[in-house]
């Protein structure tokens, strides 16, 4: 059985969350360091995510560290950043096989020692991070930022949200910007790292087939954190007056156009209408039974993929599809028409039932994948809502047609973005 155990403190503003389940063959550890999403920090956080997994004082190169992980039966270490509304999360995760399946009963302890080393003994001295690897990762991050255009499907969605929120911190790209990157050196980054270690709220998670008491003891013994004054990170604002719908195009040398429409839902996750807004988006473009799939894909053969999704923290809905360039106007109008039609209540009890079931299935399913479960629990922790899965499900079940319409009427179209081909003759 899956058991989400009580949270305990490992130190000032450090919460340990233990999830026990004997069905997994692995133990997954996650460390989440919370920062505000702001321009002067985002690129630094992103740089840190590139540097931290590249070596420690004990394993002073990427290759030595990787060899150590291979010795631990292919332990997987990932460091990354994630954008959660207007919060920026620096994540470190380590997956190890459970000792029951392999010939090393201390594997969890040995893995934790590596994690502790990564956090407290990075490749640095008084002069800052080791220059060589700093410069190398700076170059890699530059490539990564420039490389965001390579995945056009994702780029079209992210760009729409950016243009939509251009005056807000939400528009900051999670991997940062080249301009900011130019300003960072190994010394200032190291100072910044020490500052965030002492000042950020931190959440530590472990999901696996573990003994609760042992784990608590092991974690407080194995992980050290130096703490100072803890920052408070404000909640993002979600509403903005829309004077005119923005319509923006970028041009690339491509074969398929990508259309994205950005809506402000104006419904915060704390609102009683939040679940209704999720249902609205699901009925619209949640899956193969949605209005958009049926009417834009199946009826009109305009696209292969079309979906809508909601950002919980920023309360925006993004609708995206890949289409023929000359079908831009037609598809755009069709999508707007479908949204308006839903706002006017043109959907039935069956549509609602199907949407509810599909949401409930995905909520139940997330307990089967340690990594997804962990991110879900962290997202709950961020919004300070610790509803059990059963509670979330009953909230979804309780939503009525009236409240979906009420929620939908608050949705406002903000931005229409199109990734177009280059003009002929250029």
């Amino acid at each position: 059985m899956l058991k989400v155990l009580e949270r305990t403190d490992l130190g000032k503003a450090i919460r340990l969350h233990v999830v026990k389940s004997n069905k997994f063959k692995t133990n997954l550890i996650g460390i989440y360091i919370q920062r505000p999403l702001i321009r002067k920090e985002a690129t630094k956080n992103s740089m840190l995510s590139m540097l931290l997994n590249k070596g420690t004082k004990k394993y002073p190169s990427f290759f030595q560290l990787n060899r150590r992980l291979e010795d631990l039966y292919g332990g997987i270490l990932v460091s990354d950043v994630a954008k959660k509304g207007e919060k920026h999360i620096l994540k470190l995760k380590m997956q190890l096989p459970n000792s029951k399946y392999i010939n090393n009963k201390d594997i969890l302890k040995e893995g934790l020692a590596i994690l502790n080393d990564i956090i407290n003994n990075p490749l640095a001295d008084n002069e800052g991070f080791k220059k060589e690897s700093f410069l190398q990762e700076k170059e890699n991050l530059k490539e990564k930022i420039e490389g965001r255009i390579n995945d056009k499907m994702r780029f079209a969605v992210d760009r729409c949200a950016e243009i939509m929120c251009e005056d807000e911190n939400y528009s900051i790209y999670e991997y940062g910007s080249i301009n900011e990157l130019d300003e960072i050196d190994e010394k200032s980054l190291y100072e910044y790292y020490n500052y965030i270690l002492t000042s950020s709220p931190i959440d530590v998670f472990v999901v696996g087939d573990i003994e609760e008491d042992e784990v608590r003891e092991l974690f407080s013994e194995s992980l050290e954190f130096d703490r100072g004054d803890i920052i408070t990170i404000p909640r993002e604002t979600i509403s903005k007056e829309i004077h005119k719908v923005k319509e923006v195009q970028d041009r690339f040398n491509i074969n398929q156009g990508k259309l994205t429409l950005g809506y402000r839902t104006n419904i915060p996750y704390e609102s009683e209408l939040y679940e209704s807004s999720i249902l609205f988006s699901n009925i619209l473009g949640g899956g193969p039974n949605s209005k958009l799939f049926k009417n834009v894909r199946e009826k009109e053969s305009l696209c292969y993929y079309i979906f809508s999704k909601i950002d919980k923290f920023k309360s925006i809905m993004l609708v995206s599809s890949g289409i023929e360039f000359n079908k831009y106007e037609k598809t755009k109008e069709l999508i707007i028409k479908e949204v308006d039609s839903l706002k006017n209540g043109n959907f039935d009890e069956e549509d609602i039932e199907i949407a509810k079931k599909s949401i409930i299935t995905s909520i139940k399913s997330l307990t089967d994948t340690p990594n997804i479960l962990m991110d879900f629990l962290y997202s709950q922790s961020l919004s300070n809502s610790f509803d059990s899965i059963e509670n979330i499900i009953s909230k979804i079940r309780a939503v009525s047609k009236e409240s979906i319409i009420e929620a939908g009427k608050k949705f406002q179209l903000d931005t229409i973005y199109f990734l177009n081909k280059e003009e002929e003759g250029r």
Binding site: K25, G74, P97, I102, N253, G287, E298, E350, T361
Partner: protein, 430 residues
């Protein structure tokens, strides 16, 4: 009916196997405490099967490229309405995929498992094709093909295969081309369906917290009387494929920030079976990790020289009639990467692989293989994919444990032959 249990002590998993009178094979892997239940109904029929002889017919049937994938799309249509609706009403997710060798229909659910299973078994047996609904699908698939045209990873991969193979249909894009799909008609689709969607060419795989007997009974009860294996074997016609590669270097321009490369090695010792085929797969994967993995000297050099970044991966892909290793990534100077890789391979051909590296990588592979059994999707998809190649996936961990250094060294010398390699490049178009 034949019935047996397959165990793996190392994985601590058990599969229940049944073979029905009509030839259909069923596998059930119970996963206690999982909320998700996952089922696949698959046929050993993929994009490479576009030339065949139906038993009793003298003539060779040749069908347009991309027809297996087209048929996969069309099976979601039924006389009484869309298949998606039937699953949606139960809150489950249905999907399908076509690859080189198989077409698989699948669903995942948390509730009403047996009802979902009924629908899966039913819709895959019930094609409903009209001239009109075949026509309508062409626009949708055209957009799917366009989507892949802008996917640099897909393009660099397929260009590599086009360089590797002169004749083997693995070089053809799974979805076909916009030209080929517009040639597809109802009659051809039915012919492919009737040839390959027969019990002795198909498998059902179920994983989750389910009851074995009820699962098998549900499947059996929903088999139609028309769902029958025919006498004789379909003859799949593969053209002769030379050992040599077709073209050493291929280049395409796309809207990307920096060049992408795939370096591909062609397997020449094909048409093995069962464990022999499996061992070759495992050996190849281990070698790729030893030479190119992120703990290797080569990786270290390329990374430190700024020639590769974290997007650097390797893969060994195979079927009975082909196999290839792929080394792929992004680089400012992919030609230099290729040169350095060639030097390293020559070097290892002289000096041999390092046994310590082998032991470490073997241990890593064992740990990661066991860990992958967390995922019901991994289990079902991988099991079916290996099963269609004549391999039992549970043998993977056994063979991996028994793997010795000498056999890996031999495999290196056989497979990593620079004359059998191709460099595929995608360069920025401005």
């Amino acid at each position: 009916m034949i019935q047996k249990e397959i165990y793996s002590d190392i994985l601590r998993e058990k599969i229940n196997y049944r073979k029905l009178e009509n030839g259909l094979e069923i596998f059930v892997l119970p996963k206690k405490d999982y909320t998700k239940k996952f089922a696949i109904f698959g046929t050993r029929y993929g994009s490479i099967d576009n030339k065949f002889i139906v038993p009793g017919e003298g003539d060779v049937t040749e069908v347009p490229e991309g027809i297996a994938h087209f048929l996969e799309h069309k099976l979601f249509e039924s006389e009484e309405g869309g298949v998606f609706d039937r699953f949606s009403k139960l809150g489950s997710n249905v999907n399908a995929y076509t690859n080189f060798n198989s077409t698989c229909y699948l669903f995942s659910c948390t509730d009403n498992f047996y009802e979902n299973l009924e629908i899966l078994i039913d819709f895959v047996q019930s094609p409903y094709l009209t001239d009109e609904n075949v026509e309508k699908e062409k626009g949708i698939i055209e957009q799917e093909i366009r989507m892949y045209e802008d996917d640099p990873n897909w393009r660099v991969f397929f260009n590599g295969l086009r360089g590797l193979y002169s004749n083997h249909p693995v070089k053809i894009d799974i979805a076909g081309t916009i030209e080929s799909i517009y040639k597809i008609n109802k009659e051809q689709l039915y012919k492919c369906y009737n040839t390959f969607y027969v019990p002795n060419n198909m498998v059902v795989f179920v994983v989750g917290d389910v009851d074995i007997d009820e699962t098998c009974n549900t499947i059996e009860k929903n088999l139609k009387s028309t769902f029958k294996s025919f006498e004789g074997q379909v003859e799949r016609i593969l053209p002769h494929e030379p050992d040599e590669v077709k073209q050493k270097k291929l280049e395409e321009k796309l809207s990307v920030s920096m060049p992408l490369f795939n370096i591909v090695f062609k397997n020449i010792d094909n048409f093995l079976e069962g464990r022999d085929l499996l061992r070759k797969d495992i050996q190849s994967k281990i070698i790729l990790h030893i030479i190119f993995g992120n703990s290797s000297k080569l990786y270290q050099k390329l990374y430190n020289d700024g020639l590769i970044n974290e997007n650097f991966e390797t893969e060994y892909t195979f079927d009975i009639s082909y196999g290839h290793s792929i080394i792929g990534g992004e680089s400012k100077d992919p030609d230099r990467v290729y040169e350095i890789i060639c030097e390293e391979i020559k070097n290892i051909r002289n000096k041999g692989l390092n046994q310590e590296d082998f032991e470490r990588i073997k241990r890593k592979s064992i740990g990661q293989h066991i860990s992958s059994y967390n995922s019901v999707e991994f289990i079902a998809n991988t099991f079916i994919s290996y099963y269609f190649k004549g391999i039992n996936l549970f043998d993977y961990i056994t063979e991996l444990n028994n793997l010795d250094f000498e056999s890996v060294s031999r495999r290196f010398n056989e497979h990593f032959d620079l004359s059998k390699s191709v460099l595929s490049l995608i360069k920025p178009n401005k």
